[in-house]
Amino acid sequence: MNMSTTPVIHLSGSGLTFQDIVAIGRGAKKVALDPDAVTRCRASRAFLEKAVRDKKIIYGVNTSCGPMCNKIINDRDIETLQQNLIISHAAGLGEPIRPSIARAILAVRLNTLAKGYSGVRIELLELMRDMINAGIAPYIPECGSVGASGDLIHLAHMSLAVIGRGKVYLEKELITAKDALTQCGLAPLTLSFKEGLALMNGTAAMTAIAAFALEGAGKLFNVACVNAAFAVEIFGGIDDAFDADLHAVKPHPGQIRVAEIIRQLYRGTGNITYREELHERIRGENHVDTPVFETSVNVQDVYSLRCTPQILAPVRETLDYVTATVETEANSSNDNPIIIPEKNKIIHGGNFHGQSISFAMDMLCIAISTLCNLSERRLNKLLDRNLNEGLPEHLIPGQVGLTMGFMGAQYLATSSTAENRGLAAPMSVNSISCNASNQDVVSMGTVAARKACRLVGNAKHIVTLEILADLQALSFRNADKLGRATGKIHAILSRDFQVYDDSRIFHEDLVAFRRLLFAGPLFADLSVYFAE
């Protein structure tokens, strides 16, 4: 984003939100160093420098690393150690991480270092800041880290860019880091003691990836609520399943919130069924005196409509939990050792361990996979003529049999739902001892975060198809009586929607709508639709 009005986030090691991380990665926000954070960093560095002068033995400063930590490094070689650490650990492989995420990784690392307990020089922080603001994104292969001593492999690749080695993306071009820095008027840094380790030994990669997964998951939740409200209106769902008093007696916070969102979405509708009116309608169908008669009116809706608040409750609560975890991690000091001058301490520990993010990403996968289960069933109800309460089979607007409507597209939802159930298997329990058994319990948090991103991507396929099916169904009935908020959303989406009549390649509709739903602001915040 090349403009003077670009918002600036002042990084201080506190207050950075997951939305900030995503925005910085996408170039929608720039970064500055908070003056108080700079003061803290100077104090931390000065404290470390004195400890080195006093010949204190400090891990990764004048010792080797990992299981070789008992090998003490001569003072004259302590800077070489930092460079060797980076180059030897830049050993990832696979597809490169998207430049927007790679830039976010750099930003998260900068924020954690700016907290002021890592003992790095201000020059390093300033170079990272300038790289981010110049739009430089390190080339980081996606595979390699076990997420225990942090994202060592990913962050080694990130660190290569800082020292002018390896490659980076600049203006979508993959070029050498050295050339990119030169083009941006920057110079690579020769790292001082501790700095290589401080860059690499942390959770910035998994945290930044998690922030992107979370951002997508938040929009998925909002679209899922809209799809739920559309479904209630398409099928004339019964109001009491969303009654506030029902949820007040089972007061899971997410359940109360989901029910309220759906009520707000369909408020003013002429499409839903009111329990109060059901009794007379049903009794009116019985014209003969028989022991039993079967009504054509649903006394209760299927679970995929009626139980939406209960099913999405833990999904909403998980998103809140994951948000707290990601933001705590992003604003933490997570390298080793930690230098706290005000306590006169250099503390050796394991803040680099990514178990919290790994757990959170596993939970996110379960949550979004559950959201997909619901979406896939609602979609099936729309398409199956035995379930769709009078809609055309497969929502075909033309000659049934000759044209196929949504029949082929449904496979996308079915297969993606199945794939997501597989991806929902937890990664955080997959510890494998490594590093000569020094890292004998690892988090696999980086793998978990990457997996969550993939699962969120698949989920977008499913809910995109569902919303297309909703719009198609509403082209047959009930669009004229939608609620205030659902009506507003329907009006906006209808500008880009065309009834699917087999005249277009379906994929093209999916691509356009997936972009509309998820690469724009439409579903970032539903409250905009609730205003009177």
Partner: protein, 89 residues
């Protein structure tokens, strides 16, 4: 007013169906959204403008904060489009 700014004003009026707005009275520094805007637009209009701009000019408008910043005025919106039309990676 620059040509792009004029084009954007027309686009906004069309998108938000602002048939009663006299475009000649709208300044390039005037707020585009909110009670102080001569357009009389609200947050839902802002959303629609953001979507339309994203689609027409291929610039990403996904953050609410960014949209608010960008939609300060015709000048800021045009500058944002000019600075990002190539698209960020």
């Amino acid at each position: 007013m620059e040509p792009l700014e004029r084009e954007l004003l027309e686009l906004i009026c069309t998108t938000c169906n602002l048939t009663e707005v006299d475009q000649t009275t709208v300044g390039r520094n005037d707020p585009l959204i909110g009670p102080d805007s001569p357009l009389g637009t609200d947050s839902l209009d802002a959303l629609e403008i953001a979507v339309t701009v994203q689609q027409k000019y291929g610039v990403r408008m996904d953050s609410e904060n960014t949209s608010r910043t960008v939609l300060q005025s015709l000048i800021t919106l045009a500058a944002y489009i000019n600075g990002n039309r190539a698209g960020s990676n």
